[in-house]
Symmetry: C2
Subunit: 336 residues, 2 copies
């Protein structure tokens, strides 16, 4: 997901991680980047730096109760892969903390393991540790993902410069439409609605593309809370304004079908729907070669959607864009 701090405030009433961070007296030199970016960046003392990210999924909060257990397992991996993609890092090792309800049916547990395994295999990640406990609460998975990156190549949030262009990979709003379809299936199904549902259930972060951007893009973040909210993190961290061209946001054909079938405007979903797990990044002309090489190597589409400006630092704005920082984004499944 976007980050630890993106999760803060959506989570419990109490910003625990932030409170802990404020209690600490700074970080040792070997931690290049701690809480506040997509993942922590740690000097390993070798040729590579290590990155580390953790995300928790709670059934009934981050997925509909009784939902597809294989998809739940997949997503527990994917949201962390998205964090590493946004750093330009390569995932290597995972540690899984699983809290399983005692009444979890064997079939669902097997499906959960299948989904976790499929995602770990998809991205070449080795599970190196874990802890399984019984809980009287809901199914909860916390995955810690460790990865590697060349020193000084990590994509951060604080490097956007006025004059840079803003790009996003793939298409936006599909996952949010998929969630709406699961919550309220339409009386008349439309042809490609399953593709939207799949975007919600089994996100596929553009990991290889993110690695191609490492050392080239000036800033990056993954779209988890929603485009405007996540770009707001770049704007704040970089001390710049971001002017969006809302009419340029890449929308998929299935989302067009959804809009037609439901009579709804897809733009709010694209701006604020969240959980797209695409990459939004800023780059200057010097990054073009890397961007295009990665595009062809990884078959990943990207679209320019705005520009970085010196004005209105910390804000995301533009015609059709809801008020920048304070926008109350599309309410996704519960909190978190």
């Amino acid at each position: 997901m976007a980050s630890s701090d993106a999760a803060i405030g959506h989570g419990g009433e109490f910003p625990l991680i932030e409170a802990l961070f404020h209690r600490s007296r700074g970080r040792p030199v070997e931690v290049h980047l701690g809480i506040g970016d997509d993942a922590a960046l740690l000097a390993a003392g070798g040729d590579d730096d290590w990155v580390a990210a953790v995300d928790t999924l709670v059934e009934g909060v981050h997925a509909l109760p009784g939902s597809d257990a294989a998809a739940f397992g997949w997503k527990a991996v994917a949201v962390n892969v998205s964090d590493l993609a946004a750093m330009g890092a390569a995932p290597k090792h995972a540690l899984l903390a699983a809290s399983l309800p005692r009444a979890l049916p064997r079939q669902r547990a097997e499906a959960l393991a299948d989904g976790l395994h499929a995602a770990l295999a998809e991205w070449g990640i080795t599970l190196v540790g874990g802890d399984t406990v019984a809980t009287p609460g809901p199914l909860t998975l916390s995955l810690t993902l460790l990865g590697r990156i060349d020193p000084n190549q990590a994509l951060r949030r604080d490097g956007a410069r006025p004059g840079d262009t803003v790009y996003v990979t793939g298409t936006l709003g599909d996952a949010a439409a998929g969630l709406e379809l699961l919550r309220a299936p339409p009386a008349e199904p439309f042809p490609n609605q399953d593709r939207l549902i799949e975007r919600h259930l089994r996100p596929r972060p553009p990991l290889a593309y993110g690695r191609g951007l490492a050392g080239a893009a000036s800033a990056a973040i993954d779209v988890s809370d929603g485009l405007v909210a996540d770009l707001g993190h770049i704007a704040s961290a970089s001390g710049v304004g971001i002017e969006l061209d809302a009419e340029r946001l890449p929308l998929s054909a299935p989302l067009g079908e959804w809009a037609w079938a439901t009579g709804r405007d897809p733009l709010p979903l694209a701006l604020s729907g969240g959980e797209d797990f695409e990459l939004v990044f800023t780059a200057g002309a010097e990054a073009f070669e890397a961007m295009h090489r990665a595009k062809y190597q990884t078959d990943t589409r990207f679209t320019p959607i705005g520009r970085v400006v010196a004005e209105r630092p910390g804000e995301v704005f533009g015609a059709g864009v809801p008020d920048g920082g304070g926008y109350d984004h599309f309410p996704t499944e519960g909190a978190g």
Copy 2:
């Protein structure tokens, strides 16, 4: 705690981590030691190896409901420190996944943060990442702890050799007695009962002593499930038998008071009580210098309690010792 696999079977009905491990096709060469030891051992490509461990604590399962929140936070760190102590590693970085009930009172949340911070500070650990989510279930903390160790110095479970002596640090059974005291406070409190309760609430793994053993002891594990159960892991992994002298187990004076006050035998608690978070290790004569140097440097007591033999591989036995592997250990708080 002892390990991921120690948790398997105590947790949900389904051994999720084990199932995932069996689905995978082996581990890449850079993972020296994966699931099955106290922590994973990862080659970092530099001068040090990295170790990683994860443990989950669920309120109502691993701690009494409504218990001391500061102690709960402390313990979430301590159980992971214990895993690293058993590897001889130095903890460095932590990532925290916190699932907070929406109704968690502010005061308890602050106490939780206090306890987490106190333990992180105690062992010089930097919190580098985290994720806070809301849960309809109980308070749940999963901490991932990353640490470092010199290559080829890690204490493992599979190195015990016939002829080695078995040692344990500190005293055994105190934490289990403390838990019993919390569950059923005696009508007449005895003088030092708070010291037993404190052993349950705020374990202090002998981290510095474990680091002193690195490269010297032949095998080590932390006492989390109970002495006999945890020594059983060494016996199995090393393919040796372990003969215990039950009468030599180190018991504390407060545990003696508990036995006197309750009329109970303390030996079952020392053998199988669990959650002592002491180190039990095997070593030959060549380790004496390191063992004693670490003892004086860290003011940590250790006691010889048995010997490694070639007979009865995989078993822990001796007069007064319950049947080795299959012993159903003292039922601690729920499962986990």
